[in-house]
Structures are given as structure tokens and as C-alpha cells.
Amino acid sequence: MTLRTQFAKPLFCTLLIISQFCVAAQVSTDLDSLRTRQLEEVIVTATRNERTMGSLPMPVFLVPKAQIKTMGSLRLNDVLTEQTGLVVVPQVNGQGSGIQLQGFNPDYTLILIDGEPIIGRYTGSLELSRIAIGNIKQIEIVKGPSSSLYGSDALAGVINIITDRSQPGTNGNFSSRYGTNKTLDLSGDVSVTKDKLGIYLFGNRYSTDGYDLSPENFGKTVSPFTNQTFNSKITYKVGPKTDFSLAGRYFKEYQRFNFEVTSSNEQIKTSGTGEVKDWNINPVFTHRFSTKLKVIARFYTTHYQTETNLSLDNDGSPYYHDDFEQTFTRPELNGEYFINSKNIITLGAGHVGETVKTSRYGDENGRNQWTNYAFFQYEWLPMDKFTLVSGGRFDSNSSYGSQFSPKLSARYEVNKRITLKASTGVGFKSPDFRQLYFNFSNSAAGGYSVLGTEIVQPRLAELEAQGQIQSYLFDPTLIGELQAERSVAVNVGGKIEILPSLTMEVNGFYNSINNLIETQAVAITTAGQSIYTYRNVNRAYTSGLETNVSYPFARNFTLSAGYQLLYAKDKDVVQDVKDGNVYYRDPNTLVTKRLQPNEYYGLYNRSRHTGNIKLFYRHPVTKWEASARIIYRGKYGVGDIRGNIQGETIPPSDRNSNSILDVYDDFVKGYALVNLSVAKSLNCGLRFQVGVDNLFNYTEPIYIPNLPGRLMYGSVSYNFSKNNVKP
């Protein structure tokens, strides 16, 4: 009967009917679920082995499934955007979304699913909305360079998505959600475990009508698209000491879009299609030779493919075609050896083979690259209070040479209330394929060419022989082989218990980055079009402070607040400003003045202040859940963006043509998003949820096209569980 009275309140009247059914199916409340689970969270990303959160000496964060469910998130970007220190930013072309961590651009954070990299960084950053999260067990975030374990791309940190595996018995979950923009999400998973065999299957279909932030322009800001995701994980106990698992993923997305292009001062309506496909397969053998030695062998293969076609509306003739295909294979062997409880060694070695084929390389030949690598890690735990983790990785690559990336982290428990952590390490990012092999001319957007460093010299010689070079802007003989971008970082922080259960985590970071790859204009053709290539030029740093406070202030309530202060600057600009060589025009008197060091704001697209305040409610008996989250992003500047959104030119921040972002420039205003959700679960396995994201309908069509307006949704899910494990 209590269930009935609680049901009088909810919004759906249909619920009443369902609840009738549920009362019949009601079983006595499971008392075990009342007890708060005190099990310590286990994280695998930081050391490549399962370790409890509290024992790790580097800054790590974990987003558990329960929290993701309460938030009502669907795609990876929905979850990440609400985490302290992570900022979801549009990609270079203004579309899509990538993640900015510790002030690094999205291509400097490695994103893994169950420890294996996701590929398809078509324009540098990875499209996070490709990842459905219905099958995620938890998301692990390690901040600071992790190249010592993972190699290239792990400069800012690593985000590892741990997916569900089969549970004892037979379990399943089906959910459907419908919301604003005709967004429909259907998800289901089934898990069966029988004796030695475990099977987990997950499927998702997501479709949306997209949205239009500037209806006055032809075409939508985000055009309608549909995608499907399938995941499977089969586990088999080969023997008492040997496990086998086979994981697979298949993803397909299809989009139709319309937009207007400008060709010789004429506006032409076009329509097109975009298709993305990716799949991966990962067999893993785990063998325990003894209680001390565990060895894991795996062979990961993944493939990513995208194709865009555009044709003119008036006569249907093809206007533009673009394709990209990438294959990545990685066999790896690694072992964990417990010398004793105080000394643990991890060793590993592997080989990466990569092939990329794209119309942007000028031919249909694949470009290949390989890397051989080996890593080691030594965990020393001389006493409970102290942990020291040291390690390093050696990468030998076919195109950019070799890299050694060491890392050292330590943790010390001063007393029961204070734990200190410090880590330092090296991160690197190899030049990507486009920086090496691009042979791309864009006749659509004003006309320019981009030539990768491997082909720029022969191509320029060719153009010169044809008399097509008007003048050189940069001596082409000075363009050498691209080096990997490297960073050295320090993270220092700790955890303080201010009040019983009121904890505050603090982490200060400093990343010094060298050899940053920038586009370099090399020549102008006789037709007046610029030719660009790439060069290692810039030095930059990002530094800041991150704090997280979490307080379960009342039974079933948790309040948390997070804040990140960030300074990200170009070191050469800092020096130039210090030397007095940078000027600005006073916005009122128009007179030139010398820029003072404190007036240089820093790199574009970085907010000095970001933060969040979240309130979570979860009642284990009545099974009500609710959340209110406020996500804030402070003001930031916008650089010169190539391309435009829906025909709108994006005005860069620089008002005084000194090419840097200073306090006198225009900024994109800071903004806060408010997200709310309420959910109720019934004992029979049904769960209802309603929510609204971006409650106050904040939009910024030109600068933040990836931020839709207010999104309301309702969802129903059904969970069943049949425990058929023999006693």
C-alpha cells in the first residue's frame, strides 16, 4: 500500500496501471540494500592493475554507473561535461565535441574503452557522442601525463571507460527515452552466466532530429542523425587459472544535412550525407601462473571509417567528397608480479600497426606507421602510509623516432585526515597522420592548401616548376621532420577530511609543453591561395588548481562542489610581452600602448574559471533518486577559426590585431547550465525518470554550436534478474 500512496504523486497517470502490476509482483524490501556499501572503489587505469582509489598516488577520479543513471546521461560527452576540470569544447571546425583537460586541447587526452584506444580522430579530437554509455560500469579519469603506461596522446591524462561484463545468473535491462528534438534512445542489455561461460550483449539505437540555433540560415545547426551501437563481451573460464574474454563493438551513424556554400560570390544550396562506422574486436587471455604472477595477452583490432558527400540542390551534381579510413592493431603482452605485499612489478610490451587512407592525401594509397613499445612499473608499499609508484615506457616509431616517458608518483598519509600526493612525469603526442601526409586543397572555403611535412617539399618543387608559386612566406628548406610534442608535468595535492565525511581534494598542476605543432604558411600561389604545412614551434604551459569538496550532509543527500583555476599560456608570447614587444590599441583613445604581463590572458578557448555544484539524493528504501547540477564555464577567447557555422562567420576575439588574447579583447561570456532529474524505481524492476538539461535554455549559436537549448526527457526502463547460480 505504501507504494500506492507514493505513486499518487508522479507525473504519469499511466504509472497507476503499471503500479497495479508491480504491487502484485512486489517482494519484501531487501534489507541488504539499506546498508550503505562501504566497499572501496577500485580503479584500473592508473597502474593498469586493480587498485583501490585511496591507495593511488596520482590524481584519479571515478564516475560510477549509479551517478550516470541518476544524471540521465546518454552519451559520453553528457557525463564528462559535468566533471570538474573537464570542459567539453567544439572541435576545430566548430562542430562536435571533444574534451579539454588541464587546459590541453582534446587531442591530448587519451580515451580508452576497457583499456584500448578509440580511434577516428579525424580532425584531431575524438567525437565523444560516438560513445553510448548504457553499458558503462564506471568512467575512470587519471589526470596528468600517463605516457609511461599508455604511450602517445596521454599528455593531459587518460579517460578509461570500463564496460559491464556478465553478472551471475541471467540479467537484463531495457530502456527507452524520448525527449526534445524528437530524440529517441532505445537501449538494452542481456547478461547470461552459465557455468564457465558468461555472455554480455548490449545494443543501442539513438536518433535525433537535431536542432537549429539560427533558423534564419539555411540548414540546421545539427542535422538529423541516427546511430546504432552493439557491444558484446564473452568470458570463458578456460581453466582454474586461465580466463578468456572476447569483446567486440560495432557502431554506425548516418546523417543527412543541408547547407549553403559560397562559390564565386554566389550562395548555393547543397545537401549531403555523412556516414561513420567503427568496429573493434579484442580477445584477451589472462593466466595466473601462481598467486604472485599474472600474465595477460591481448590482440586488439579496430577500424574507423567516415565518408561525406555533398551535392548541389539545383542540378544534383556532386560538389564535394571526403573519405577517411583508419585501421589500428595492437598485440600486447603484460604481466603483474607480486614479489611480496610490499613490492609489485608490472611489465609489458607490444606492437602497434596503423594504416590511414583518405581522399585528403591525394591518392588512394594507405599510409602506414608502426610503433614497438615496452613499459615497466614498480610499486613500492613499504608501509600502509606510504606508496611509491615509478615507471617508464619506451616507444620506437617508424616515422618520428623514439620516446622515453618516465613517471614517478608518491603518496603519504600524514594522519587519518590528511593524505598528500605528488607525481611527476613526461607525456608525448606523436605527429598525427594528417600532419605528415595531408595533400589537401580546399576550393570551397576561400581556397587554401594544406601539405603534410612528408610531402611539402616535393609538392612545392612541383608547383614551382609549373610556375604556380608567387612567393614564399617561409623558407621551405627549414621544414624538417616533425618531432613528437612533449610535456613535463607536476601534480601536487591531497585529500583532507575537514569534518567527518566532509572531504576536500586538491590538486595543483603544472604542464610544460614543448615542440607544439602549429600550422605554418609557406607560400602563396599565383592564384593568391595560401599553402600551409606544419612545424614544431610553440612552447606553452598550463597550470592551475583543482578542488573538489564532497559532503553527504544528511541521510541520502550528497552535496559536492568542484572548481578549477586555469592559466594556459604560450611561453614565447609571455617572453615577448615581458620584453615589451607586444602592443595593443587602447579601445577608447585608439592610441597604441605596450601590453603589460598581467594583461596577456592566455591561450584561446580556455576559461580561467570553471566549476560545478551538484546535489544528489538517493533513498534506498523508497528508491527515489534526484539530482540538481549547476555547471559553470567562465569567459574565454576565440581564435581565428577556419570554416564557419551555417554560413555565420565567427568573429575572433582579437580586437587589436596583436594576434594574442589580452584583456582588451572580446570574450565569449561565461555561462552556467542547470540540469535536473528525478527517478523512481519499483521493486518489480521498472524505473521511471524525467529530467531537464539546460533548464534556462542558454544558447550561443555562433560560439557554442554544440550546446543545444533546453532538453526535456522522460524515460522508462525495465530491469530483470534471475539468479540461477547453484548454491
Partner: protein, 214 residues
């Protein structure tokens, strides 16, 4: 609810303290302006804009000639004399020297602050060199090369901050110039619909046989 509120404020206190201390902003004291300022010198602005190609209409292709000594515009009829020092036509600036005129004028584009340049350099003055194959001006043309930068996003011409033009005049005197605006009314934040082709600049002219700008 009160207890919730007070707890909320405790939780936020630590993080907010960091936010507020980090927001300090210093603004520099303004400099006194000591130079002569010429406003809205028309440099062949034309009569309008052709909506089809974005090009100005009704242009004369004639330079507006200017004398630092008088601070006045010189008639085009006097273009063969040494009465004028510099000429303006749209974004192009000529000097009365080399292929552009019969005078001794030349120019240097110098990086620095107008007020800090206290003396004209002894040499290094370029002259215009325009012939049938090349057009080389004492003040280089093109975005980022000479006095201006074209902002492709906002589609406006902006005088590059920190560029001072040092002129040797037609009769061997010296002047320093900072261009402030290229748009009518010298708006502080011009947009591409503002009327282009109007120079506002400040200058210091040394009337005596001296290189000093003090």
C-alpha cells in the same frame, strides 16, 4: 532547509575564496597625448559599395596629398612639387620620393611606441619603387606588412598596434606618425559596414634641421 543552506555555504567557501582572489585586474594609467591629430582624412573613399562584389564605387584612384609642415591637404595639381610629403589612397600610402614624387621623402616602419620614439633614425629610409613589373612602396602594402592588419573574421582593416611610421619629408625634415583609424568617425570598434578610406592619425613634425621628436 536552513541547515542545508548553511552547509551549502560552508562547502562553497573554500572554492569561492580561490575564485575571488584570482580575479584582480589592473588597468594602466592613460598617457597624455602630445601629438597633433588629423581626423577623417579622406583617402579616395568612393561614394558607396557595390553590393555584387563588395568593391567601393565612385573611386577616383587619386592620392590625397598631405603636408606635415602645414598640416593640410595639398591639391593634386601640386603633385609634381615638394609641397606634399605623403599621399593616401585607400590602404596605400606613398611618399614624395622615388618613383612617386620629386621630393626627398622616404619612410621607415618601426615597431615601438609613438611616445618612446624620441629621435628619427639617421638612415634606412625606403622610397617608393613602382614600375611596370613591381610595386614596392616605402610603406609595404598588404595585411601585416606595413601599417595595417586585415581582420578576416570581422572584415575590417585595423591599424597594427605598435607600428610607427617615421618619415623623412620632401624637404629633409622628419615626422613620426601613428595611424589610429581607417574608418570615418574613428570608431573605437569598427565594423565592416562603417565607411572605410578615412584616416585618423597623430603625428609629431620636427620643423627644424633636427632628428629629435622631443
Amino acid at each position: 532547509m536552513n541547515s542545508i543552506k548553511s552547509l551549502l555555504s560552508i562547502g562553497l567557501l573554500a572554492t569561492m575564496a580561490v575564485i575571488f582572489t584570482a580575479c584582480k585586474d589592473d588597468s594602466p594609467a592613460p598617457d597624455p597625448v602630445i601629438a597633433t591629430t588629423t581626423t577623417d582624412l579622406a583617402a579616395d573613399p568612393g561614394t558607396g559599395i557595390d553590393p555584387n562584389n563588395g568593391q567601393p564605387t565612385g573611386i577616383t584612384n587619386k592620392f590625397t596629398l598631405f603636408s606635415f609642415k602645414t598640416g593640410e591637404v595639398v591639391l593634386n595639381a601640386d603633385s609634381a612639387t615638394t609641397k606634399w610629403d605623403v599621399g593616401f589612397r585607400r590602404t596605400t600610402i606613398i611618399v614624395n620620393g622615388g618613383t612617386s614624387g620629386s621630393g626627398a621623402a622616404g619612410a621607415i616602419v618601426k615597431s615601438g611606441l609613438f611616445d618612446e620614439i624620441l629621435e628619427a633614425p639617421a638612415d634606412g629610409y625606403a622610397v617608393d619603387d613602382k614600375n611596370s613589373t613591381t610595386s614596392k612602396y616605402a610603406i609595404p602594402t598588404g595585411s601585416g606588412n606595413g601599417w595595417y592588419t586585415y581582420d578576416g573574421g570581422a572584415q575590417v582593416i585595423k591599424p597594427t598596434a605598435g607600428k610607427v611610421l617615421i618619415f623623412k619629408t620632401a624637404d629633409n625634415r622628419y615626422a613620426k606618425v601613428e595611424i589610429l583609424s581607417y574608418y570615418q568617425g574613428a570608431k573605437t570598434n569598427p565594423v565592416n559596414t562603417d565607411v572605410a578610406g578615412y584616416y585618423t592619425f597623430r603625428y609629431v613634425y620636427q620643423p627644424n634641421d633636427s632628428k629629435s621628436f622631443n
